[in-house]
Symmetry: C2
Subunit: 514 residues, 2 copies
């Protein structure tokens, strides 16, 4: 049921209608924030950063004020107490999710929201320069400030001891998640991952990475990436692809979901992989329920991890499959020309599935990727709890990289300065990458059961059956269900790391001959 | 004196400080509006238009509410009645200009501002499609709506009869202007222009336009345009150049002034001319007073016509001069390569100064340009007064083009649909193009008196003396003076069309041998 269909003859229904109107205004303000943020990462001139921080702080404050008006509490109550109204499951979901967000938002004073936004906008500019010069000392004061402001947020959400801080924040990224369950899932995955990675490292049968050393002009790569994005379902009339230092996807609102990629002349498959990842995010946003209006709580995605499951699925399960490359390699030869002459689909399949520890998370392979995440999860948790001073981050990072991945970190640009997240104040975000990957593998297993010809279709360039499967079960559900409910509805089981392990086994054992 | 220096020990000074703080918040909201508008014209996906209209309407409403708070009336009064405070000329100017804007703003109900913004955002999308298909009927309902909303605005500003509508709006574009004085100045200019254009048309000595028919790759043109923009003083760390259907300049705020250009492979000099025009606008914005803070009324430009004087001066007095091409042509040969081989500075000077009536205003020559403006001025005034129905616009336009420029209009895309302005609700804006051109010629005459070596410097690529002259006298004054005061201070005389006529005579008589 959409807002327009609601019977407003009862006081509860009238309150509900008014409530959705107010939430829509907050969502509109956030859509302007999203555009300003997109511009900051893509086209904003260098000296525009100070003004941008003020613009963002102002609009976030206004959005916060709009979303925490005392009047809303009355509207929620009036709607919630109307049994006829809440009998509609969509209304019930809107009220459940709306109230969850409202309760979290009212705990934060507007002044903290304003300061957090302004600080992180400036911090992300500082981070960019610090990383470019590999100068951690230039970023350290900003990190300290961000950690301190994040602690104040956690306190607002009820954390009364350092050890409670992280849990208090997790709900912003993955509703219902807690460190206990993450520790359990991560522990189970890690116990399997480390020996599996060691087995691969010891195998003499590593595929060649020669196809990843070809030099391909960037203009040609752009063409190929656009072709693949469109083929897997990205609607260019409602989006666009630009270039940024860190690839990302931004949902501005209906009709406007933008992605970015970055290119180097070498490793054209990495740019393509990145584009497929961001396209996966965008397909979720472009597939959100059409029978709701922008700003209704259910019209939004279920969670960050659920969002990540969509990007991972297209990047990995699709984009690293043999069948995908059977279709994509002839297209690549047509578009990229001589540069990739003679490269076979099998060679590309091998090259994009090499497992090899690397310094940079976003360039890492599918297997060791999760060791990067676990490292960040542990370090950000320690910083928040006060067990790790921001000044000691580089040392802790480098030690852990040595222990977990066996790598020496040559400089902070390739170490603790590599990710944008902390500068943006996203502390508690990293675990959603691994959780999302686990969701993606579980969804993938379910999709293969439902669609027996699925992967053979990829070889013919047919991706619509998978997209439609995801649209129906996930995208069009918005946040009607909580993430645990959704994964159980779609796959028939709660979240477990088993499907990811099975997927790795099935793909990598034959490739490595182990 | 800046906000920070104000002695806040008196109630008047405290009120003044609070007032500037509130005005800054309104300016910040408008800077977000500016960015959203820039994005709509450059990068927004096609289906993003409906959301964008809502975003813009929301932010304009909020900015209007912020700028019309009843509290501000009290703050103005408290500050204005503090004689010690207002003895500072900068404070006095801030209060004068701030109050002028406040008085105009409070006359408009927020609902009208919201509706006007949403309608014109959608109308500009409709105009784009209508122009592409040369289908006036698709735009006509939007034009009707825009004219009607503009009339409601005029009524809010006190127009009680149809004939008073236009005057009531002019103050938004050129403070202090009225139709009586515009009629007088335009009449004087027209009486001189028509026989002068006829004399040129009858002359056998027209310069060749061959250099304008060369084909130059757009990537090379971009490089040349950036080189020229930077050389005349554009700060790329505080701006950028993009492509849009209609070139424009947007001041987002300090550190962020963006321009756009459009290119065709032919007529590279037109793109360069357009870039110099928009750079002229941007130089004004980038040169606004540094001893004031963004949001203070005096930190803003003096008027639209004053803005246009800066763009015109760089486009015409500089960019069409012999001396400019003596410097620019060797640069062009270096950057553009074979395409312009053998083209001399003299040939370019002739080509860019050809006078020849044309259908499209923005492609027209300097002389007949003003006949385009007078046509629009008369027609928009007639529409507003109800003497011309929007449905009858194409007929009236075509008839007038025939009479004034001797041209048959082949379709509405090259007729009444060519300009973006009316779709944006800019009715009353067009006269500022001619007024700005008159200012530019008057400033030019004064600058030549002050700087005897001025034009010879252009031939050496030296533009800093002119920029510094403009910065000191105009840019850094912000809106400290009204446009009539400013022109008198800078040139020693009130606005007159004589300097423009003399400039045309001096440049075009020798070229045409008349």
């Amino acid at each position: 049921m959409s807002q327009g269909d609601t019977d407003s003859s009862t006081p509860g229904a009238a309150a509900y209608r008014e409530l959705l109107g107010e939430l829509r205004q907050a969502a509109l303000l956030r859509s302007s924030v999203a555009l300003l943020g997109w511009d900051q990462e893509t086209y904003m001139p260098r000296r525009g950063g100070a003004l941008r921080a003020e613009q963002l702080a102002q609009l976030e404050s206004l959005a916060h004020r709009q979303a925490t008006q005392p009047k809303l509490a009355e509207l929620f109550e009036a709607a919630e107490s109307d049994a006829e109204l809440t009998a509609d499951p969509m209304v019930a979901a809107n009220l459940r999710e709306g109230r969850r967000r409202y309760e979290r938002a009212v705990r934060l004073p507007e002044e903290l929201v304003r300061e957090f936004t302004e600080t992180t906008s400036l911090a992300s500019e500082a981070w960019r320069d610090a990383r470019a010069q590999s100068d951690f000392s230039a970023f350290q004061p900003w990190l300290t400030k961000v950690v301190e402001l994040t602690r104040r947020k956690a306190e607002c959400h009820g954390a009364s001891a350092p050890g409670e801080m992280y849990d208090a924040l997790l709900d912003d990224y993955e509703p219902g998640a807690d460190t206990a369950s993450i520790d359990r899932v991560f522990g189970e995955l890690r116990d399997w991952l480390v020996p599996f990675a060691a087995e691969i490292a010891a195998s003499p049968g590593a595929p060649s990475d020669a196809p990843q050393r070809l030099r391909v002009p960037i203009e040609r790569q752009k063409e190929l990436n656009a072709l693949v994005a469109e083929r897997i379902g990205y609607d260019f009339a409602s989006g666009r692809v630009d270039i940024s230092a860190h690839p990302f996807c931004t949902f501005i609102g209906p009709g406007d979901t933008r992605i970015t990629t970055r290119y180097t002349e070498e490793r054209f498959a990495d740019a393509l992989s990145s584009t497929m990842h961001e396209t996966g995010h965008a397909l979720y946003d472009q597939g959100l329920p059409k029978d709701t209006r922008f700003g209704e709580p259910v019209a939004d995605v279920a969670s960050h991890a659920m969002h990540e499951s969509q990007s991972r699925l297209w990047e990995n399960q699709v984009g690293r499959s043999q069948q995908f490359w059977r279709w994509a390699m002839p297209e690549a030869r047509r578009v990229l020309g001589d540069a990739v002459e003679g490269v076979t689909p099998e060679a590309m399949f091998g090259a994009v599935n090499r497992v090899e520890p690397s310094l940079i998370r976003v360039d890492s392979d599918e297997v060791t990727y999760h060791l990067h995440i676990m490292l960040r999860y542990d370090l950000e948790r320690a910083m928040l709890a006060g067990d790790l001073a921001p000044a000691d981050l580089p040392g802790a990072w480098n030690e852990r990289m040595k222990r977990d991945l066996g790598l020496e970190v040559p400089d902070d640009a390739r170490g603790c300065l590599q990710d944008v997240h902390w500068s943006h104040g996203y502390i508690g975000y990293f675990p959603t990458y691994t959780l999302g990957t686990l969701y993606s593998a579980q969804f993938w297993a379910a999709a293969r059961r439902d669609l027996p010809d699925l992967e053979e279709g990829f070889a013919r360039g047919e991706f619509a059956p998978l997209l439609e499967w995801l649209r129906e079960r996930i995208h069009r559900q918005g946040s009607r269900f909580t993430p645990p409910e959704l994964v159980e509805r779609v796959t028939g089981a709660p979240l477990t790391p088993r499907p990811l392990m099975e997927y790795f086994e099935e793909r990598l054992r034959p490739l490595y001959g182990i």
